[in-house]
């Protein structure tokens, strides 16, 4: 129940802040979203505060606080959306592979966009009901339905399409952008209807998951991987495991049976790649290698 601190990866993008001056937008949003709730409280105070008989004031106060939180989210959303429209009109967000350097325009704007989105999304995520989250995603350009539950994991807030009835599992990650070494990769992620993403699974940018398919727990897809519709995928990187027949009717009695664990283990072993060094270097070889390295170093030091 409820994502604990160590799993709360949040819906934040792992933004690397390029320039500190972008924080101005962040503080602006925080400040601007506080103003209407202060106004609300002031009106409420003027209307109902009576020092002799403060009963009415205290009775309706909890509901007001509830409403204040929601208005805070919506005002921050509103101003963030305006800022985003301006920013996007200056430089349109696009997919591609970019340099992870402050000189790269796309990288700078990606960082700026995420800095703007961060405050409203954080606010919405702190609310225990998934309703506000879905509003946030919708406004920021992620195609979702209110039937989706994207609440327990981390979902990037741009270049993602969701179908109906998608479930993103606990602490799993759905990304549309990733930083690898010196590169920033942005690709559109498309997730079809009725897809279930398991706990701790990671969906890399550019993944297409067809409808009615399943990405099992603890598995990872690669960049631009295509998962066919109606299959169960599993492994690192994800591979076909078996057909998803669990959408058929009348399986109530059959389900809940499990085969032999050892047998399934054998099945799994074909899917999980084992990596190990094939060449076992002997002691002599290692000695020679060390000698070579030392000589090279000597040469370098002589040159300088």
């Amino acid at each position: 129940m409820s994502v604990p601190t160590s799993m709360r990866v949040g819906p934040f993008t792992a933004t690397v802040l390029v320039k500190k001056k972008y924080l101005i937008f962040y503080f602006f949003l925080m400040w601007v979203s506080m103003i209407p709730i202060l106004l609300e409280f002031w009106f409420y105070w003027q209307w109902l505060w009576d020092p002799i008989r403060p009963v009415h004031f205290y009775i309706w106060l909890p509901l007001l606080v509830f409403g204040m939180y929601v208005t805070m989210v919506f005002t921050s959303l509103f101003f963030a959306k305006i800022l985003l429209i301006i920013v996007n009109s200056i430089h349109e967000p696009r997919e591609g592979v970019f340099l992870r350097d402050a000189s790269d325009k796309d990288y700078r704007y990606w960082s700026l966009r995420n800095t703007i989105k961060r405050w409203p999304v954080w606010l919405a995520h702190k609310f225990p009901f998934p309703f506000l989250d879905n509003v946030c995603f919708k406004l920021f350009g992620v195609k979702t339905k209110f039937t989706n539950s994207l609440f327990e994991g981390w979902v990037d807030v741009e270049f993602i399409d969701f179908g109906d009835n998608v479930v993103v599992g606990q602490s799993s990650t759905v990304q549309s952008s990733v930083i690898i070494g010196n590169l920033l990769i942005i690709r559109k992620t498309v997730i079809g209807e009725n897809v279930r993403i398991g706990a701790h699974a990671i969906v890399m940018p550019g993944t297409h998951i067809g409808k009615n398919s399943v990405l099992a727990a603890n598995s990872v897809t690669t960049v631009e991987q295509e998962l066919e519709a109606g299959w169960i995928y599993l492994g690192v990187p994800a591979k076909k495991f078996k057909k998803n027949r669990f959408f058929e009717d009348g399986l109530e009695d059959v389900l809940g049976q499990v085969g032999d664990v050892e047998e399934t283990r054998k099945k799994y072993e074909q899917l999980y790649i084992k990596r190990y060094d094939k060449h076992h270097t002997s002691y002599k070889e290692r000695k020679e290698l060390k000698k070579e390295i030392r000589e090279e170093e000597r040469k370098r030091s002589e040159e300088t």
Binding site: V3, S6, F129, P130, R196, A217, E248, D253, V258
Partner: protein
């Protein structure tokens, strides 16, 4: 459907069962709830907020005007952090109490039970299951966001997880029904203990039993129906499949978990632990040198 089943030969049926075996793990994170369930939150927020309002009123009501008596103002201002902290806990406990009341009502209307159900709106079991999870989620959300440790054990006990204060699940996800803990169970960071899972069109609810001295590693997944023996250990990043049993005294690892080696460290706990079956404490008082004993038993 029945005609079809009759036509199939035995071999086909076996293959069918193999294909329909649930030998993979998904997740239980279905907070996909109708917006109508938000209606439950509002009374809970409201009533517990009322209590907070009353407490705050009591705290501030006897203040004289500042020109007459400034010392009273200083004292109240000094005590304000303490007051705010206690207000938070009043709010949390009121929420817990109210949602427990709602839960009792809901469970009277529809009793929670294990089994395989259809995960579609219209199925009573599914709808009540999601309503229950949504109700419990509010409280555990509040508790997980406040800095006091050990307090979430209280909430878990209150909402129907059978556990006591020797067990520990500070930093992990745990479904709040059909979970049984023994003594001194330890669950690692980010681990997931699920008693329910949605596979395709079906919702599967099955009891999870974690026996005494079970250790579950970080980021591990425990599927519904898992039963662990005494002193068994599930390694980090590994997961169990539906209805799997972990034998007592073994270390399990992998996806799905298989036996890795015997859990030799259990010999050490033997000295201090209580026997659960008889509910009696076993004490080793005279002449046991723990360090020496460890060395002998571990062959160090």
């Amino acid at each position: 459907m029945e005609q079809k089943k009759n036509n199939l030969t035995n071999q086909d049926q076996k293959d069918d069962l193999k294909e329909l075996a649930l030998d993979f793990t998904i997740s239980s994170a279905v907070s996909r709830v109708n917006i109508k369930f938000l209606a439950v939150y509002i009374p809970i927020f409201w009533l517990s907020g009322l209590l907070v309002g009353i407490a705050f009123y009591e705290f501030t009501k006897n203040l004289p005007p500042i020109q007459e008596n400034w010392e009273a103002w200083v004292i109240t201002l000094v005590l304000i952090p303490f007051a705010l902290f206690s207000l938070l806990f009043i709010f949390i406990f009121a929420c817990t109490f109210l949602s427990k009341l709602f839960l009792i009502l809901i469970n009277i209307i529809h009793k929670p039970k294990e089994g395989v159900f259809i995960a579609q709106i219209g199925d009573a079991d599914f709808e009540f299951w999601s309503l229950r999870t949504e109700l419990k989620k509010l409280v555990i959300w509040l508790i997980r966001n406040c800095p006091l440790p050990w307090i979430d054990t209280l909430a878990f006990r209150w909402f129907g997880v059978n556990m006591d204060f020797s067990s520990h699940l500070q930093d992990s996800w745990c479904d709040m029904e059909f979970v049984n803990f023994g003594r001194n169970v330890l669950i690692g960071q980010g681990a997931v203990v699920m008693s329910s899972m949605i596979v395709g069109k079906y919702l599967i609810i099955k009891k999870v039993i974690l026996n005494d001295y079970t250790v579950i590693g970080g980021l591990a997944c425990v599927s519904p129906g898992t039963i662990t023996g005494k002193d068994s250990l599930l390694g980090a990043l590994s997961s169990t499949i539906l209805n799997q049993t972990l034998e007592s005294g073994w270390i399990y690892f992998g996806i799905p978990a298989i036996k890795l080696k015997q859990n030799k460290l259990t010999f050490i706990t033997e000295m201090t632990k209580r026997s659960v079956d008889d509910e009696e404490a076993i004490y080793f008082d005279d002449g046991v040198n723990i360090e020496e004993d460890k060395k002998k038993k571990l062959n160090l």
